[in-house]
Amino acid sequence: MAPTVTNSLESFAAGAETAVDVAQIERQLAELWQLAAESDTAAVTRACLFNLVAICDTEAARDRATETIRIVTSRHPCRAIVLLAQPAATTDELAASITAHCHLAGGGGKQVCCEQISIHATGRSVAQLAGAVLPLLESDLPTINWWLGDFLETPLLFRRLCGVADRVFFDTSTWPAAPARLVQLAAAMNEQRQCVFCDLSWTRLEFWRRMTAEMFDPPECAAEVSRLQSAEIIYGDGPGAQLRAWLYGGWLATQLGWSAPDAVARLTFEQREEPDTSGCGITMVTIRSAAAQFIVRKNYGEQVASTVVHMPDACGLPRKRAFWPTDDAALLSQELDAMRRDSLYARVLALTVELTAAARS
């Protein structure tokens, strides 16, 4: 093999970005993978289980997406397409580049690689983005759209990309005016029913949901579920903390079969100063029946939460659990591991909309 060709393959596999013409992306990638297959120096295998389309509105978000994809592809190989849409720019440009994320596979020193295609659209060229993405999707594999910002801001692009997506990942924590947007979010989810919507802010709550659930596993505590009367949710600062507290409240009420007016009456939310956001904003939850109290609390100064049950005859030791990582890569991995259709979120969201409306009125 000629040294220059080997170099381009090696730099691609090493993660260097190569600018390409948008129309030539597939051809360029095919050539590079062909080189890899023929190369006797680079032990490289291409792997792809799904398409991941990351939609960003700032360069910082694009960098964050690239870094997250680099981590996630070690566990979930995919074709990543990172879009940066900047409609407010004064020039109309559509530029593309390709790069690879390679990870050593177990045994044999072989590298498993995934490709990332980045497309940057400015000005009126943003309208061409969806058209540029569609032919790049690997056929017969699921497509996941990951919105790093508020997709309700770009309804046209959202709808076009939803048309080919199986799943939509988003994070209401990053939405500037999320509580007021929940009605629109519910409407968008209802409109795009073919997609599975996954709010990473809800994924963050799984820790608190699990801690709560574990308190009710012992039969004597499970028997108390139907007698639960009220809950107090205390939350601190940090992006999305208030919304997550509401979502948690909405979840409790949904699972306990409380109606919206019931939930408004039985749930209390209180914000307290707590700059540590490791508990994803919630600091303490107390759920009460006439005879018992079930408490999950973030331990002060620790990256740990614990549960305590105050109930006559309740058995079991207090449980402590370290908070799970809740960075983008961890949350994406958690959702990609499960690939579930979570109908619960839609139900919880419907009740949370009413809770937030009541809180605002």
Binding site: A222, G316, L317
Partner: protein, 507 residues
């Protein structure tokens, strides 16, 4: 055991596996190799994953005198050496260590078992284990009977207890029945968990998914399309320091009767009506029952055995079996088996299942190959000099777990040249996640009372019934054929399959 998700609405939609209920794990033979090398690292890994409850307790029971502190320190070393999470999390270990106890005792002494009972009652009170106990027999099989009897005499066989036993589950049909009798005199069959670590392997569990979650394979999975099935478990190692044990056992008992028969059952069984443990095990037993018995006088037509001689592996000279430590010079124990089984049911009538296992073979490999029949040679016979290769679906268990399919493709060019090509799926390449160790999965299942991946008594007995005729036949047969270490077994094993017009695969 009650399904807690049904009574706890907060469990809906959680992606994480449920935490086991508080449980006391009593390990008999707690100072042995298995506890440190496999059990404790697996338990720590489960704790690290948050799958063990705060009230989880471990009680080590063995003859050797030592303190609980000493035992904890030894287990910590074992975890540091063997956990897949490195470095270990001190908080997780400390929480686990608080529930570890050691009790020196004799397996036959009622007083020691009364002390164990008292300790378990204390653990029940302090850690909320509420009588939920798992007794793990990490001892040599010769001690199973006395421990089980002592457990029964001490009243420790309550319905909330379970018993895990390691193979071998007997060494013949008669001894397997005897073992089952002694087990079921004390525990109900539903309380007995016969562990086969092969069933905890990811790829083995994937056999059912491959077959029943993919529409394309199951239609072809029968005598109409399958020519034969080859199962190979090849080891490069010799008997190492286990010469004494191995000589009493041999390749058939050590590998074929248990691991390979389980693989065969999973490959050949009918679709279960659900994923419930009993339903799956019923289907496995049905297949084992359908295996044609090997008549005593035809043993040599259905099986070949071998014994390795001195040879070379990876450029190093290695000793022959008879030169190994603790192996008698006159030993007739087989270190290689090749055999052929037929399953006399509608699906598999006439399809031979070839099983091959040996020590000191050239490569460490375990695979199941489904060899399909040839397509009709009407279209391409004129163009192709050689007959077309048949399609093969290979399930690789080790190393490099995965699945491959061989198919024929046209070589680019003006002529119609056909060559076999291979499509590969590798677990390591497609899923970056490291699979949990087999013991981790199986221990979690035993703790949560899920017996799907454990062997039922009738499965073990039926499997021995098939092997018994070989063992009996070999008693009067000439000694095993020799094969040079580092080769694929005796020449007779080659002849064994070529006489059927087939060839062994080279994994």
């Amino acid at each position: 055991m009650e399904n807690i998700t049904a009574t706890n609405p907060f469990r809906e939609g959680l992606t994480t596996r449920r935490v086991a209920e508080p449980c006391a794990l009593v390990i008999f033979g707690a100072t042995g190799d298995l506890t440190g090398r496999k059990l404790l690292p697996a338990i720590y890994n489960l704790a690290h994953e948050g799958l063990l409850p705060a009230g989880f307790a471990i009680i080590g029971f063995a003859r050797r005198a030592k303190s609980t502190e000493q035992f904890r320190a030894e287990l910590r070393e074992a975890v540091v050496a063997g956990s897949r999470f490195q470095p270990i999390n001190e908080a997780v270990w400390n929480a686990l260590a608080q529930g570890i106890y050691y009790l020196p005792g004799d397996y036959k002494n009622p007083a020691d078992f009364a002390t164990l009972d008292q300790l378990l009652q204390v653990v029940d009170r302090e850690r909320g284990t509420a009588g939920n106990r798992l007794f793990y027999m990490a001892t040599p099989p010769g001690q199973f009977a006395e421990i089980i009897s002592s457990l029964g005499a001490a009243g420790l066989n309550r319905p909330t207890s379970r018993l895990v036993i390691e193979k071998p589950f007997g060494r013949s049909l008669e001894t397997a029945r005897e073992l089952n009798r002694s087990l079921t005199q004390v525990f109900a069959e539903s309380q007995i968990y016969r562990i086969d670590h092969y069933l905890g392997k990811e790829t083995v569990q994937n056999i059912l998914v491959l077959r029943f979650a993919n529409e394309i394979f199951e239609h072809l999975w029968n005598q109409k399309y399958v020519d034969h099935v080859q199962m190979t478990v090849a080891e490069t190692l010799g008997v190492e320091a286990r010469g004494g044990y191995y000589d009493q056992s041999g390749a058939l008992r050590d590998m074929v009767q248990n691991h390979m028969m389980q693989l065969l059952a999973l490959v050949a069984m009918e679709p279960p009506t659900s994923l419930e443990a009993e339903v799956i095990r019923d289907e496995k037993v049905k297949v084992l029952r359908a295996i044609r018995p090997i008549p005593l006088e035809q043993v040599s037509q259905f099986a070949v055995r071998g014994q390795y001689m001195r040879g070379s592996q990876a450029g190093k000279l290695v000793p022959g079996y008879l030169e190994e430590k603790d192996v008698p010079a006159s030993s007739r124990t087989e270190t290689f088996v090749a055999m052929k089984l037929f399953i006399d049911n509608w699906r598999w009538a006439g399809v031979p299942f070839y099983l091959r296992h040996g020590k000191r073979l050239p490569k460490r490999a375990a695979e199941i190959a489904i060899q399909f029949k040839s397509p009709p040679a009407v279209l391409f016979a004129a163009e192709c000099a050689a007959p077309l290769e048949t399609n093969v679906l290979v399930i690789r268990l080790q190393p490099d777990e995965g699945i491959s399919i061989r198919m024929n493709a046209k070589v680019p060019g003006n002529a119609v040249n056909i060559q076999p090509v291979k499509m590969e799926f590798r677990y390591g390449g497609s899923f970056g996640a490291r699979s949990p160790d087999a013991y981790e999965r199986l221990l979690y299942d035993a703790i949560t009372a899920d017996s799907t991946l454990f062997i039922r008594g009738d499965e073990a007995e039926r499997s021995w019934q098939i092997m018994d005729s070989l063992l009996t036949g070999w008693q009067t047969a000439p000694k095993p054929f020799d094969y040079e270490a580092g080769t694929w077994g005796p020449a007779e094993a080659e002849a064994f399959i070529t006489q059927d017009g087939r060839q062994w695969r080279r994994p």
